[in-house]
Symmetry: C3
Subunit: 205 residues, 3 copies
Amino acid sequence: MLTALDLIGTAAFAASGASIGVYKRLDLFGVCVVGITTGIGGGIVRDLLLGVTPPVSMDRWQNITVALVFSLAVFVFHPAVDRIKGAVLVLDALGMGVFATTGASTALVLGANWWAAVIIGATTAIGGGVLRDVLVNEMPLVLRRDLYATPALVGAGLVVGAHAIGLPFPWGLVIGTVTATTLRLLALARGWNLPTAPHWPERAD
Amino acid sequence: MLTALDLIGTAAFAASGASIGVYKRLDLFGVCVVGITTGIGGGIVRDLLLGVTPPVSMDRWQNITVALVFSLAVFVFHPAVDRIKGAVLVLDALGMGVFATTGASTALVLGANWWAAVIIGATTAIGGGVLRDVLVNEMPLVLRRDLYATPALVGAGLVVGAHAIGLPFPWGLVIGTVTATTLRLLALARGWNLPTAPHWPERAD
Amino acid sequence: MLTALDLIGTAAFAASGASIGVYKRLDLFGVCVVGITTGIGGGIVRDLLLGVTPPVSMDRWQNITVALVFSLAVFVFHPAVDRIKGAVLVLDALGMGVFATTGASTALVLGANWWAAVIIGATTAIGGGVLRDVLVNEMPLVLRRDLYATPALVGAGLVVGAHAIGLPFPWGLVIGTVTATTLRLLALARGWNLPTAPHWPERAD
């Protein structure tokens, strides 16, 4: 189940990365590189932070293959993808939830303390999207709009909390993933945002 | 003392990152992410280069907490921060000096040779600022203006030199930090810059 | 021979990075930082993915020294470099080929499976250029124009294939490097490109 969820998250993130690549008019290879980077980037960052080398999502052919297939699908069928944008956002929210909880869980298994596990879980969930936006030369979306990182922190925190009170392994994953995904979808549906600092003059330079 | 200096550097870097986040009109979370990344980014890069996983500044709650508190303070009190910009620059120079010397020192302790220790020390001092500028989609400041990396190289070099001639441990740190910070402040005060290449035609594309 | 080729690749990549730094009107230090990052960046990414710390190209003084010398040379002689742009492109293609094959070979030696070796080889070949473009705030060239990554994948794949059928060590390197470099030069000479997705409306935001 964990692997299946992981691949769903990879697929959703790859589709979101490939969509932005198409918007940016990248060629076939560029679209695939951005798609694959978005799909497996969070996992690579997680594994580098935890000292797992080579990173699992490079070492297993499944992750890159799934990311590649979904990138190609977006390249070919992008007008259809545009129509099902809602579905992509839902999958993206699910992917975020999955990566937050599996990231935190992997960190705990590898001996990280609870604090590091929460931070690394959230970083796993956000990392792929940040790499995507840096590659296409945009300020990362996570810095600008919508509640995105807060649900990731909550999901990772629930995994660590479940571990602390001794819940059996998969419960923390399930509760954390469902909560993070639901929070994210609620934030999207209701347009929840955090405030910006008021009354700051425009940058002079 | 070392930990205290490390946290001062983290705080100063976090404040500089959060200030830029406010200028860029990021929301509360974005300001905190940029602030925290700037504050602990150099240490994370250092630890990844040295194979210390999870990175110390993610593993210890103190570093992120200090970075978060100073990011929040900038978010709330940014007009006041604008008035004490001079103090932030001094703290930033101190942080740069601290990170250059502690980075080089950590590298030596973990068995890096003298050359790698100098390079890794300077990278630690510069890394947080580069991550900050990449995140907010600006060309890194260190590439464009002011002497910044040169003092970092000097500070890291003094630590390695003190180690080579057998000075007791803290002396290299003190001498390196004071020298790097002073050089940086002098460069700021006097507007020292390195030359740019002359007579190069504007880029055609 | 391997080390010599590695340094040639480093030099060519450093020259390409420094050229872009000069175009961007960076100061002396900025040009050197971009040049050195481009020259040794691919190797650093490779070593981090494989858990080799500190990264070899930071640990050995030769790599950074070669990168620094070629960056300085570009800074001083850039009009001449402009005239021999063809030579730089040839060297860059050679560097790409060398890094793709040595990256894949290093990965195999360190126990990565064939799939990870191909991916890590191509990442080594592309990494320096991506870091260069991110630093100077451009969308990475590899995403936009020309066949670049495909030859890198082919070169890395040939190393892995030669290893699989038991060819003696250097043959895979030679065949892979020559093939990747030739493919890249052919792509440049004939203007080969991959298609972009058709009929996509301009981005609305």
